[in-house]
Amino acid sequence: MTPHTPCGAGSHLIARRQMLGGLLGSVTTAGALAPIGQAELAAELTQSDRQMLIIFLDGAVSQLESWDPKDATDTGGPFQAISTSQPGVSVSELLPHTSQQLHHLLLVRGVNTKENNHAKGKYLMTKGRRQEPSTDYPDLGAVTSRLLTRPGARLPGFVHLEDGRRAAGKPTSSGQDAAYLGPRYGSLVIGDCQPPEHSSPLAGQSPESDRLRRQFRQRLNQRFARRGNAATRAFAASFEQAEQLMANAHVFDVSKEPAADHQRYGTHGFAQNCLMARRLLEHGVTCVKVMHTNYDTHNENFNHHLEQLGEFDRPFAALIEDLALRGLLEKTLVVVTSEFGRTPKINSKFGRDHWSNAWSLALAGCGIKAPGVFGRTNDNGTEVVEHEVDHRQLFHTFLKAVGADTRRHFDVNGRPIPVADPAAGPIEEILA
C-alpha cells in the first residue's frame, strides 16, 4: 500500500547557502561564458511566457504498466488495459485517474534510446545527448531557464522538487546541473516541500542591520567591480539571487494552498510536490522538475508499480486537470519521462529489467499536438514499428514546444556549443 508520509517530515534542504556554494564552486566556467545574444533573447522572450514542467519517474517506469499496455500478451503482465478520455486509446489500469485526463495528453510510444545504464540513460533524457569526456551538457531545465527566464526574474528559473529520497541520503540532484551555462541557471533543489533553507533572516537580526550589511557589501562590490571579472560578477549576482529568494520565500510555502487541494492531491511527498509545482508555475517559475522514485523494479515489478503508480496517478491527474482549468496548460509544456523503460519479458522474480529499445513517455500542454498517440510498438512491445524517436529529437522537441530556437548556439569561451544536438532535429509531426 501507498505510504502516506506527511510532507514536512524531512529536513530542510537547499538552498541559499547551497546555491552560493554551487555558484562559487563552478564560477570559473560560468565566468567564461559569453551568453547567447542577451538583447536579442530578451526581445524574443517578450513574445513568450512559456514554462515547462518535467516529471521524472526515477529508476525507469514500466511502459507496459503505464502508457503502452499489452493486455493479454505474453509480456502484458497481470494488469489490464483501460479505456481513457481519449477515444480508442488505452492505458494501464494502474492509471485510473490519469486515464480521465488523457484528452490533454500526447503519448509518445516509439522511444528508442539504446542505452540501458541508469546514469547514462538519465543523462540522455535530461541533457539530450550522450555523455562526452570533454564536455558536460546542461540539464533540460537549465537550458529552459537560460532561454526563457526573463532578466531580472524574481524567482529562480529552474526548481527541482524531490521528496524522502534526499532525507534518506540519496538525493536525486545536487543542483549542479547547468554545466557551461553557469550556476545561475542551475536548479534550486527543494526537498520535502520545505521552503529553501536559510531563506528567512537570521534570528535576532533586525531589518535595519540586514539593510546596512547589504549596503556595505554592495559598496565593496562596486569598488571591486572596477577590476572585477566574470567570477566576481557571478559572486555578486549570487547575493542578488539569494536576496530575491528571501523576499519570495512564501512562494515555496505549499501550506498556503487550499486545504481542499491538499485533500484532492494527497498528503504524501509526491502529491505535495505536484501541488508545489502548480504553485511555482502559477508564480512564474520557468521550469519545475518533480522527481518520483523509485521504479527500478527488477524484483516484484507488479507489486511495486501498484505502489508507486498508486502514488503517482491521483496527484498527477489533479495537476493536469488544474493546469488545464487555470489556463496554465496553454503556456506550459508537461513532460513525463524516465531514463528508459522496462523489459517486456517478465523475469523469474516477477520483475522487469532495463529496456531502452521501445518505451514511452507522455506530453501535455503548449506547443504540441495533444491529444494523440505518436509512435507504435509491436504487439508485445519488444520493438518500435512506427515513428521511432530518440533522446536528441525529444530534447529539440521539448525546447521548440516552449518557443526556443534549438538551431542556435551558446558561446562558451568563444566555442560555439549548439543548444541541442545538431545531428538531430525536432519531431515536427507532434509540434503544434
Partner: protein, 334 residues
C-alpha cells in the same frame, strides 16, 4: 507401508505448461493437479496420463486455488478480481460461475473446514466470505489498511485469519465477522525501504498446524538492502505464531543464504513443515521440524518455485515453476 522421508525427495514428473506458472494444487481426490499460468489460463493435468487441459475465463493471472463440493469443484481466484467455480471432471471445464468478487487483485482464497464457506482477500483491503455452493456473498470483513496477501481458516472452523503487506494479522470470528484481535508478530517479514521508497513484505504463504496451536506465515526476511533492485537480499522465512497468545515463537529459515520468497507452506503429518521458495538464484524445497528454526533438509529446484501442494497420498508434492513446468516430487524411495 511406504516410507516417507524428506531426504528421499526426488522429481518424478515434469509437466509442460503454456507459460510460467504461478500457483498449484492437487484436487482432493488426487487425480489432477491444477496450476495458474502467466497466460491467464489455469492448466489441469491428469496425473496418470499427463494430459493437459486449459481452463480459460479469467482476464488476468490466477494466483490462488481451492476446492469445494467434496473436491468436485475448483475455485479460482484471479488478479482480475474475479472468483471462478469449475467442475473439475469436465472434458474442457467451463466456469460454472465467474463473479466480480473484489476491486483489483484477489491474492488468496481459502475454504472453511466444513466446506461451506469460501474466503477471499486482495488489494481492495477487504476480506469476503462467500457461500461455497452458490457463490453468494455472506459477509465482508473490514479492517486492513494494506493489501491483504493471505487468508486461512483455523482448523476449528470458528476463526478466519488474514495477513497483509505489512504482516498485520487479523483474527476474525467466522459466525459474525467480528474482528477479535490483530497482531503484528510476523512483522519481521516487512520492511519499508527508505532509499527505494517502497514496502517490502507481504504474507506470501500461510498455514495452520492441524492441531490449531500454531500459525505459520511465510514471506521473506530482508537481510540486505538490494532486495528491491536485485532481489538478492532476502531469505525465505516463516514466522511461527502461537495461536493462543499471538506471539511469535520462532522463525523457520534456511541456514544458507538463499535469496528468495517463501511462496508455499504445508504441514506433513509425519511431523515436519515443507516450504517452497523462488527468487533471485532459483528455488528450493525446504524442510523444517516443528519448533526447530533451521531447515533439516533442502532440495535445490531447477527453476524458482512459486507455490506448493501436497498430494492427498502424503507422498507427492507439486511445485509450479517459473520455467513453465509443473514438477511433481516424491518423498519415497525412487
Amino acid at each position: 507401508m511406504t516410507r516417507i522421508d524428506a531426504r528421499l525427495t526426488h522429481e518424478t514428473a515434469s509437466l509442460e505448461a503454456p507459460a510460467p506458472l504461478l500457483c498449484c494444487s492437487f484436487d482432493p481426490g488426487g487425480r489432477y493437479v491444477f496450476a495458474g499460468a502467466q497466460d491467464r489460463s489455469v492448466v489441469r493435468w491428469e496425473l496418470e496420463t499427463g494430459t493437459a487441459t486449459r481452463l480459460e475465463g479469467h482476464k488476468s493471472w490466477v494466483r490462488s486455488l481451492a476446492f469445494v463440493e467434496e473436491g468436485q469443484v475448483l475455485i479460482t481466484a484471479g488478479y482480475d478480481g474475479r472468483l471462478g467455480w469449475w467442475q473439475i471432471d469436465e472434458k474442457t471445464p467451463k466456469p460454472i460461475r465467474l463473479i466480480d468478487a473484489h476491486k483489483g487483485w484477489i491474492r488468496s482464497v481459502a475454504v472453511s473446514p466444513d466446506g461451506k464457506l469460501v474466503a477471499t482477500a486482495g488489494n481492495d483491503l477487504i476480506v469476503r466470505l462467500w457461500s461455497a455452493t452458490d457463490g453468494k456473498l455472506v459477509r465482508e470483513l473490514h479492517g486492513h489498511t494494506d493489501h491483504v496477501y493471505s487468508v486461512a481458516f483455523h482448523p476449528g472452523g470458528q476463526h478466519l485469519v488474514s495477513a497483509d503487506l505489512k504482516l498485520v494479522t487479523r483474527d476474525w470470528r467466522v459466525s459474525d465477522g467480528k474482528s477479535l484481535r490483530s497482531f503484528d508478530s510476523a512483522r519481521v517479514l516487512h520492511q519499508y525501504d527508505k532509499s527505494m521508497q517502497c514496502n517490502l513484505g507481504g504474507a506470501r504463504s500461510m498455514a495452520f498446524h492441524p492441531d490449531g496451536e500454531s500459525l505459520l506465515v511465510g514471506g521473506f526476511f530482508v537481510v540486505a538492502t538490494n532486495i528491491f533492485d536485485g532481489g538478492a537480499g532476502s531469505k525465505p522465512t516463516a514466522a511461527v505464531i502461537d495461536w493462543k497468545t499471538g506471539k511469535r515463537r520462532l522463525l523457520h529459515r534456511p541456514t544458507a543464504p538463499l535469496p528468495a520468497v517463501l511462496w508455499g507452506l504445508c504441514w506433513h503429518e509425519q511431523g515436519f513443515w515443507i516450504g517452497a521458495s523462488g527468487g533471485a538464484i532459483g528455488g528450493h524445497l525446504l524442510f523444517w521440524k516443528k519448533d526447530e528454526p533451521d531447515d533439516f533438509f533442502r532440495l535445490k529446484l531447477k527453476s524458482p518455485g512459486r507455490g506448493l501442494s501436497l498430494h492427498p497420498d502424503g507422498q507427492r508434492l507439486a511445485i509450479p515453476h517459473f520455467d513453465a513446468r509443473l514438477r511433481v516430487f516424491s518423498m519415497t524411495q525412487a
